[in-house]
């Protein structure tokens, strides 16, 4: 897509009036690391204009119970997450991975010290190692509760050649996700802290290759930590990495083609 072609569609993109494939193609164009000629500015102007359309309607006061419901729901939640799904996800994952590495290192050191010190009072180094081992054990205990897919994501992040790619929101949608991609391992795991559960709906994953129709590639599932996480169907990555990944919101159980694409982004390096 050229910048001129993108700007032809920017009004429809801002209105949310593009098909999912068209919207994904526009987002992919914006994400391209090339010198764009005014694309972001055109989209910002279009978003600003469409944002004003709501002003055409006279405001309507919601019933008093609405605020009470909001208060009850936010009162039951922790403080909002810090800015940036990518930073949050990677920081959490790296901290956990570091805990794993430290546990392994500390554990080995303690074992070595015990072998060397048979029956003798532990050295300072051994005491420090033991303290580190206990801290790591506590981290691991929390990690055990994190779920298999979160541990898979941590392990994938630690592999050489893994990239974390931001999946950008489509048409002003308030969503974001990160794809943890390793082409050599032929794996991609999508993580989001910004896709709250919707009753009766599923967040569906898609693989997009060129102009072909998006292929269904799995689902994001909520975790106890408030993340949504899911792995791209590995069979779809065996031949080659796709150009793009996308996430849409579908009726429970998914759909054969995407209806409401929320985020999309290029993953092929």
């Amino acid at each position: 897509m050229t910048c001129a072609e993108f700007q032809e569609q920017v009004a429809a993109l801002a209105l949310g009036a593009l098909d999912s494939e068209e919207a994904a193609a526009c987002q992919a164009h914006l994400a391209e690391p090339v010198a764009h000629t005014g694309c972001a500015e055109a989209l910002a102007r279009a978003n600003a204009t469409t944002g004003r359309l709501a002003d055409a309607l006279p405001p309507v006061r919601p019933g008093d119970a609405v605020w009470r419901g909001i208060e009850a729901r936010i009162g039951a939640e922790a403080a909002p997450p810090s800015r940036g799904a990518l930073r949050e996800t990677v920081a959490w994952a790296l901290a956990a991975a570091a805990a794993v590495a430290l546990y392994i290192t500390a554990s080995a050191r303690v074992d070595a010290e015990k072998r060397a010190e048979q029956g003798v009072v532990m050295t300072d180094q051994a005491r420090e190692s033991e303290a580190a081992r206990q801290r790591c054990r506590i981290e691991l205990e929390s990690l055990r509760g994190a779920g298999e897919m979160e541990r898979e994501a941590i392990a994938l992040l630690a592999q050489p050649g893994t990239r974390a790619v931001s999946l950008a929101p489509v048409a002003g949608a308030p969503h974001r996700a990160t794809a943890i991609v390793n082409a050599a391992a032929k794996r991609a795991i999508v993580v989001s802290s910004a896709m709250p559960a919707v009753e009766g709906k599923d967040y569906q994953l898609w693989v997009i290759r060129g102009q072909k129709a998006p292929q269904p590639a799995g689902f994001l599932r909520p975790t106890a930590r408030g993340l949504s996480i899911g792995e791209i169907d590995r069979k779809l990555l065996e031949a080659a990495m796709p150009e793009q990944l996308a996430v849409s919101l579908e009726p429970a159980g998914g759909a054969p083609t995407p209806t409401t694409v929320l985020v999309a982004g290029p993953v092929k390096s």
Binding site: L18, A48, T49, A56, R61, P62, P80, G172, P174, T260
Partner: protein, 198 residues
Amino acid sequence: MTVPRPSAAPAGPPARDRALVADAARGVAAALRALYDRHAGRAMAIALRILRSRTEAEDVVQDTFVEIWRRAADYDEARGGVPAWVATIARTRAIDRRRSRDSAARATAGAKAEPEPDRGPEPIELAEKRQDRERVAEALAALPAEQRTAVELAYFEGLTQREIAARTGDPLGTVKTRVRLALVKLANLLAPVEGGSA
């Protein structure tokens, strides 16, 4: 544990909104209440226009502000002002809800929307908001009828260009041109006036 306190309120509606969002991101519930007081009427109007059901619209408003609370840290001023952000969230949720409801309604053909309680809109506008509303309404009225229809079907009913073409019977290319030209004209008509707020 110290409770986050609101920051000092700078002058001007956009700056005030940004400060409230920043405070909400820090966990200041009073900031969310202030955002609610300022923008719930807008979110309710959009949701009600799309869903035609007060109960469902109120559910959407509740979901909207809970989402704002959760995502306040992700608010990006470059993507538009806070009112547009609130409107986008409310509109997206309302459209999703309506599509889900319509799918269920197709399975029970003839089902009617929940009857509206006879309350009617309550005037909570300040004079400047009324002026904004009139300006946008005038801008929409200034569009050629076909362009206005295309914009309204896209924005208030969540139709894609392809669906608009199917609804109106017009060629897809014609619909695309109307959408593009309509937004260019609206942008010119709604450009900030000298000394006014954007």
